[in-house]
Structure formats: structure tokens, C-alpha cells
Symmetry: C2
Subunit: 494 residues, 2 copies
């Protein structure tokens, strides 16, 4: 009924919190609660801590995105230098998924180790919990009592209602890593326009398969700077990605074995039929609320996520909810910080949290990082917007020899249009940074700190005075330094 | 006598500064001087702006380091997934150098464009200048007069005095990209233990050649954290790099055609003879002072670099010197900021600069970023040092499934010891960050901002409150968050 357990029989204190779910929100919340001196227990249905991230979500996605970046490079240089000829070659998806299945035990093990040996967390894993009431949880024949419950139950991919959505060959990010047992054919259909759709779509494309992305509205709507979004989409299109926007999957057809063999797509130009044995659905997330709903009635929002106040309390104050189960953004920092926020409140340190003004990130074949305002919104809100970007406005467009950055150098030398795009948006009056966008490699980590600095009011002058590590993935520091001497910031840019 | 010129005949103002040299220091200094309202002229001997960086130094090094990272990955996965079999295969160095020679015109062109069209700089390129006096420079039959001269003349590789150092087959980073006209054989000898030696050495190694690094003292002495340095060196050794420390090249032998065919190396264990047709010397830099020495006598330091005060003035106050010509660190930010510092002083804004407390970076096959104190020095200076690192101390050493980061995911899945190492050093009393070390990919850009924040007194609590972009190249934010709740930071680490 339950598996690995790390509990301290010598600790007779009542639990301050039981975290139901040991993923990003639960594990970080429990660790913080413990660090504050509380006694916490994590109960998780999986035999490891870390939740869906290392098992089905972030870690596999990052593996697949690494493969996409690597394959794009190898295809671009196919037959040149030492590169093998990958032209027209299709790469096995199944073997990469199998690599992930065997490799994911590594992060599992180290997170268990860290939680047990370094953080001293108490937990019961591989356990089906049942909530008895707002203070009690049962696991098999064990009952645990706690001052508070914290629901860190996560979310799972939304399932399409379309007939045929249950056919073999129709996947989401979860079933893809758990269930794939055949080599997909030459054509992939991806349904959705958000991060997951684009990230997995680029991977499928990079394996050499025709990849059609079917989006109900726009693809990549979250990337608010039009020029940055345009570069990202153009680079995907040049890799052969096909985008059907304002389109909808209307039919999934089965072969005689019950496996998908074709789909029909409604577009503005009419219905398109595509033969495929592999459909990937990325339709968003649904909260895992079933466990709690068996016993307790909590207020949910219109999308079924558990409603919480800024202290992470549900409609029953001693029951907290944190992480994906409370709704978007489905990001690691948000889950973890909600877990920590609940821990603080449980331990008597009043704390409020809501995810706003955060940096953001997604993969195409590239790493795409952004923060703050896009140019269009900046111009609506500020009278004197200044733009710095690489490549600069110039007669050759993207086909020029900058930016250059780590892991982009081969592109720079042979196909410079592929070496990335970056943009900094500045209020010319206050000289403050309003937004930053980067498509390339290696800027993501910096965006974490840059976002923190921007919220403190970072100016072009402060940026210009930092010490860049050249060749820098982002050129923001040096671009600022070239211009900061001008009190009017009147450089010859649009 | 001189080539491309962009000067403004309608501008009758006297020049505020003539920058001799349009590299990092000269171009940035001139741009800043212009932004401050000054009139500036750049004179450069090359037909492009940007200096040695895009032509012989940073850009080729980064290309070669990208190749090293790429080749290490392909060798590690040789024959697995879609990867070709590179076992025992030697990759052409010459073709990569040729790619660089053809590709470097791209960055040249865009820097000329940016300087002319966007920054409005006046310049004379492809020009041999002669300094007439502290206010006058001659180029062919043109004479230019200026209130100030700024010497941004750069540096060049030091040349060994050893007999045979002039043989064909003995290179430095400059002659390597300019002169290589044959395919090096199977064994490379690299002389030096600093950044250039290691960076080029890793590239040669990654091409499949036996690579022996001969260092007079330690290799990588600049990486002050012993554990981080040890990881970096261990990973190089596992790629087959051979290190001879406390060793010295004592003899270079020629074949009958005047090309190197062997070297003798003095080690503590005796003299080793190595057959090789390719020796790479990385012995540091010498200042380009000849142009100025023809006419003007300036104070030089013991290593021949031009002495400057913190306003970048030489021993003749209206002559400034900036960039590599003033000595180490030979880093882009230092050159550029010295150029800017001179510009400010020339334009009447008193400014002082000295490169201290900067972040640092180098390539092995990995990206290696660091800032602040290593653990050993931190423990000497602080009583209560706390360490967080990935992988954590654990019975399996590096062979565990963290860290995981972009471009490290394939390693994580199959050879986790290769997925990187990272370490954060904290003063447990003030909770301030003392140092950070990262070996992997994608953390470099962040170290620029992290260093700025650390100088402002960044604490574990502030880091813990930032929004990480997961999977993060560095785990500093999340590692802090797991522990920051503990007022004693008494977690179970050494």
C-alpha cells in the first residue's frame, strides 16, 4: 500500500503540515516549513520526490528540446566539417523516449537523497492517501494528524473530448513518455499553440518528420514582442514547421486496429485531411482535485483549479493549496514559491504571494527568454521608447554576423541568420529597462537576475556599467554601454 | 596607404580625441565620447572595426570552443541514438580554421555598419598611422589634430625565445588562424596553463588528437575554488587531455623541411620527448607599444604595458591608454570600460576605473563561470561559511542525476557525471553570497548580473525570492530557497 518511508519515530511533535504531493510545490514547501522549525510530512503516490517534473514534464521536455537544438545544428551542417549527412534522414523518437525512461531514475534518486539526507524531510512515498478530514490523512493502515493540510496535488494534461482522442497514437506529454511503444511515421500533428505544443512540435520536426501545428488561435501568443515572435516563428518555419492558425482538429480517424491513421483539420480555407499515425495534444492542464473532492468541498475557479487567497489558503483556512493545482502559470518558481508561502503562514509568519512580473521562457529549437513589456505595449504606455537589438536594423535583415554567442558560433560562421535575435526595450525618459527578449542559447539564467534588477528600476546606465562576460549570450550590457553616454538617448534607431 | 574612411567634412570642430585602434577599447571609447558630444576619430590598421576580437581572438576561440562542446557530446554518444560513430576518428582542424577565415567577415561587416550608420563614428581604416606628437597623427598625406590621443593599440601573443619557436608548425592563437595551411597530425603539444592554453587545448583534444598541456606551474590557476577546479580538470582528463604541470618545453626539433617534428619536455620525472608536428604556444600577451615608442616616451610597467592612472592617463596627461595595451585582465569588459573611462575624462566628466571584483569565465569543453571567493579563501576570511552545491555530497560522487540544465540533458540521461558542477559559497552570519562557481552550459550570462548583485550585498534570502526559469542552468535560486527558512543555515552540509 505504501513504499519508501522516512519518518522520525522519535519526533513526538504534532505535524504542522502534511503536504499531499511531493512535487515542486510540496517538496519546497515542506523543506521550507522544516527549515522554519516545523514538523512536516510529505505523502506522494509516486515512489520518489520531485513530482511530475522529473518524471513526465520538465525533464523530458528539456531532453527533447536539447535533442531539437542538437539536431537542428547537425542538419544545418549536414555533410560539412565533421558532421554526418542527416539530409532526409528520420531519427528515432522511440529510442529517445526510451533513453528518458531509463535516465529519469537518476534525478529521482538524487532528489530522494537530498530530501532525506540533507533536508531531513519526513515522507511516505508510493502511497495512496485518503483525506479523512481537514486534519487527518490515511495511508493504508496508518493515520496521520496535522494542524494543516497542504494540497500540492499538481495537474495533468487536459484530454480532448473529440471522438478518437482515446485512440492509440493520440498522445499528450504524459502518455507520450509513458506509453509510446512504436516508431511514429513521417507525419506528426500537434494540437495547440502554447509552450508545450511548440516545444514538442520542434522536437518532432527536428527528428525529420513533417510537423503540422494546429492552433485554435495564434501560435506562441505568450511572446508579446511582435518582432521577437516573428523571428522565432520564421526560424521554425525555415526548419519546415507548418502552422495552421485559427484552425481546429475536427476528426480523428482510426485504422482497423484502433490506431489513428488520419485527422481532419478545419481551416479558414476549408477542411484538410492529413494522414498520420501520431497526434500530440497540448490542450492545457487540469487540476488533480479528485483526491480532495472525495471528502472535502473546496471552492474551485471556473477552470476547476482550487481557489486560494494570497496566503495560499483555500476556502477552508487550515487547508492550503499550492502549485499547479491552483492554476497557471504552470511554472516551477510559482509552484515552489506558493509552497514556501504556505509554509510561512503555517509557521506564523504572515506571507502573501501572487505570481506577477516574472521572467518567462520556452524552447523552440532555440531557447526563448523574455521579461517585461514587448515593444508594442511599451509604445502604448511610454512616450519615448528606445530599442536596441541584434541584428540591428540593416539592409541585410537577419543575414548579418551578429549576435554571436556560445553554441551559436557555427551558425554565425555559416548561416548567420540562425545565430539568434535579441532586443532591449528602454524608456528614454527615465532610462529604465522596460523589457528584454532573447532567442538563442544561454541567456535564460541571466533573465532570472535581470528580471529582479528590472523590478528594482534597472537603468541603461547601470547596465552599461556592469562587467560583461564576452562573447556574451546577450549583448545587453555592451549595447547599453555604446549609447549610455548620450543624455538624450538619441541614437539613430527607429 | 589608407582604406575605408568615414569622416565628416562638414564638421569643423577640433577632434576631442583620436583613438589609435578601433578594437574593444577604441571603438567603445570613441562611441561613448561621441555620445557625450565629443568629436572623435578612430584610426585602425585593419580594414574593419572591432580589433583582434572578431579577427583573431575571441570570435575564433568561441567557435573552437563550440566545436569542442559539440564534439565532446558527439563522442560521448558515438553510435547511440542518431549520433554518428566518431570513436577513434580525427576531425579536420584545418577545415574549421578555414570556416572561420571565411566567416569572420560577417562580424566585421556588421561592426563597421553599426559604427558608421548607427553610432555615426568617424574613422580611417586600413591605415598606418604615425604619431607626430601628443596632439597630431599622420596617415599617409593626411594630418589629424586632436586635443587628446587615446592609445587603444591592443596586445599580441608573446613569442617564445626557445630555439625552434619560429619553426613552421609552432603557433599561437594569432598565427593559428592566419597561417595554418596543413592538417595537424595526431599529437598536439600546448604550452601554457592559462585560459588560452586550456581553451585551445580542449578544442584540439576534441578533434580526436592526443593533446599534451605543458604548464610551468599549475594548469587553470585562475579557478580558485579547489573543488570546482578539480571537477573541470577531471572532466578534461576523462576526455583524454594530458597535463604536465611544473614542466617546461626545453627543445623544439625540426625536420629537414624546417617544420617541427618533435619537442622535449622537462618534467620532475625527467625529460620526455614527444613526436608532433603541431605546437601551440599560449604564453601570455605583449603590449603593442611600437607605434607610440617611435615618437613618444611613456612610462611602461615591468611587463612592458603602458602605465596609466585611474583616469586612464599615461605619463603624458593628454595621452590616454586603454584596453589590452595597459595590461591584464585581457577581458572585453575591461578594455571597453577603460575606453569609456578615458572618454568621460576627455569630455570633462571626471571618472576613475580599475578592473576589480569582476566575474570571470573560460571554456574547457564546458563553459566555466565564476565570481567572488573560492571555498578555501572564504573559509580563511569568514568563520561560518556555508556551501551549497550540485551534485551534493553523496556516496556516488558525480555519478548522480543532478545538476540538469539546457544542453546537459543528454549527459544527464546517460552519463550524469558529465552534466556539470556548481557551487554557491555563503557567509552564514551575514547570509551574503561570497562566491559562485559553475561548470556546464548557459550560466555565463547570469554571472554578469549575479556579480553586480553580489557587490550590492546579495543574500541567500534575496536569491531565494527570485523567479527561477526551470530547468535552470544554475540552481542557485532554488538551492537557496530550500534552505533560506533556517535562520541558522544549519543544514547538513560540510
Amino acid at each position: 500500500m505504501y513504499g519508501e518511508t522516512n519518518s522520525n519515530p522519535n519526533d513526538t511533535r504534532e505535524f504542522d503540515a502534511i503536504y499531499l504531493g511531493g512535487g515542486a510545490a510540496g517538496r519546497f514547501g515542506a523543506a521550507y516549513c522544516g527549515a522554519l522549525g516545523g514538523r512536516v510530512l510529505i505523502i506522494d503516490r509516486w515512489p520518489f520526490l520531485g513530482g511530475s517534473c522529473p518524471h513526465q514534464a520538465c525533464v523530458p521536455h528539456h531532453l527533447f528540446s536539447d535533442c531539437a537544438a542538437q539536431l537542428m545544428l547537425e542538419r544545418t551542417f549536414s555533410g560539412k566539417l565533421w558532421f554526418q549527412n542527416l539530409n532526409d534522414k528520420i531519427v528515432s523518437i522511440k529510442s529517445i523516449v526510451e533513453l528518458f525512461r531509463s535516465g529519469r531514475v537518476g534525478p529521482h534518486a538524487v532528489m530522494n537523497y537530498q530530501s532525506k539526507e540533507m533536508l531531513g524531510l519526513e515522507f511516505v512515498l508510493n502511497a495512496e492517501a485518503r483525506i479523512i478530514n481537514a486534519h487527518s490523512v490515511q495511508v493504508g493502515d496508518l493515520k496521520f494528524h496535522s494542524k494543516n493540510l497542504v494540497l500540492a496535488l499538481g495537474a495533468r494534461p487536459a484530454i480532448s473530448n473529440l471522438p478518437g482522442a482515446q485512440l492509440k497514437g493520440v498522445f499528450n506529454y504524459q502518455s507520450f513518455v509513458e506509453m509510446l511503444d512504436y516508431e511514429p511515421g513521417n507525419t506528426v500533428v500537434v494540437v495547440g499553440g502554447g509552450k508545450t505544443a511548440i516545444e514538442y512540435g520542434c522536437f518532432f520536426n527536428a527528428t525529420g518528420r513533417r510537423t503540422i501545428v494546429v492552433a485554435r488561435h495564434q501560435v506562441m501568443p505568450m511572446l508579446k514582442d511582435a518582432e521577437s515572435r516573428s523571428y522565432a516563428i520564421q526560424m521554425m518555419a525555415e526548419q519546415g514547421m507548418e502552422f495552421l492558425e485559427n484552425a481546429e482538429l475536427i476528426n480523428i480517424q482510426s485504422d482497423e486496429m484502433g490506431k489513428v491513421q488520419a485527422v481532419s483539420i478545419q481551416t479558414a480555407q476549408g477542411v484538410i485531411k492529413v494522414d498520420t499515425d501520431f497526434v500530440f495534444m497540448a490542450l492545457g492542464e487540469r487540476a488533480n482535485t479528485e483526491l480532495v473532492a472525495q471528502t472535502i468541498k473546496l471552492d474551485l475557479d471556473d477552470n476547476g483549479f482550487i481557489k486560494v487567497n494570497r496566503r495560499m489558503q483555500t476556502s477552508i483556512p487550515c487547508i492550503y493549496a499550492v502549485g499547479d493545482v491552483t492554476g497557471p502559470p504552470m511554472e516551477m518558481f510559482k509552484s515552489r514559491k506558493e509552497g514556501v508561502c504556505a509554509a510561512k503562514n503555517i509557521m506564523g509568519k504572515v506571507s502573501e504571494y501572487r505570481a506577477i512580473d516574472y521572467p518567462d521562457f520556452m524552447h523552440t529549437h532555440y531557447e526563448v527568454s523574455w521579461l517585461g513589456l514587448g515593444e508594442e505595449e511599451a509604445r502604448q504606455r511610454y512616450a519615448n521608447v528606445k530599442i536596441m537589438k541584434l541584428p540591428p536594423e540593416n539592409p541585410n535583415g537577419f543575414d548579418v554576423g551578429l549576435p554571436a554567442g556560445d553554441r551559436m558560433m557555427l551558425y554565425l560562421m555559416m548561416k548567420p541568420r540562425m545565430s539568434g535575435f535579441q532586443k532591449l526595450i528602454i524608456d528614454g525618459d527615465t532610462r529604465k529597462i522596460l523589457g528584454a527578449f532573447h532567442i538563442g542559447c544561454g541567456a535564460k539564467d541571466g533573465f532570472q537576475y535581470l528580471n529582479h534588477l528590472m523590478k528594482q528600476g534597472l537603468t541603461i546606465d547601470e547596465l552599461a556599467d556592469m562587467d560583461e562576460l564576452f562573447i556574451s549570450p546577450s549583448y545587453f550590457i555592451q549595447l547599453c554601454r555604446l549609447r549610455a553616454g548620450d543624455i538624450n538617448l538619441a541614437w539613430a534607431l527607429k
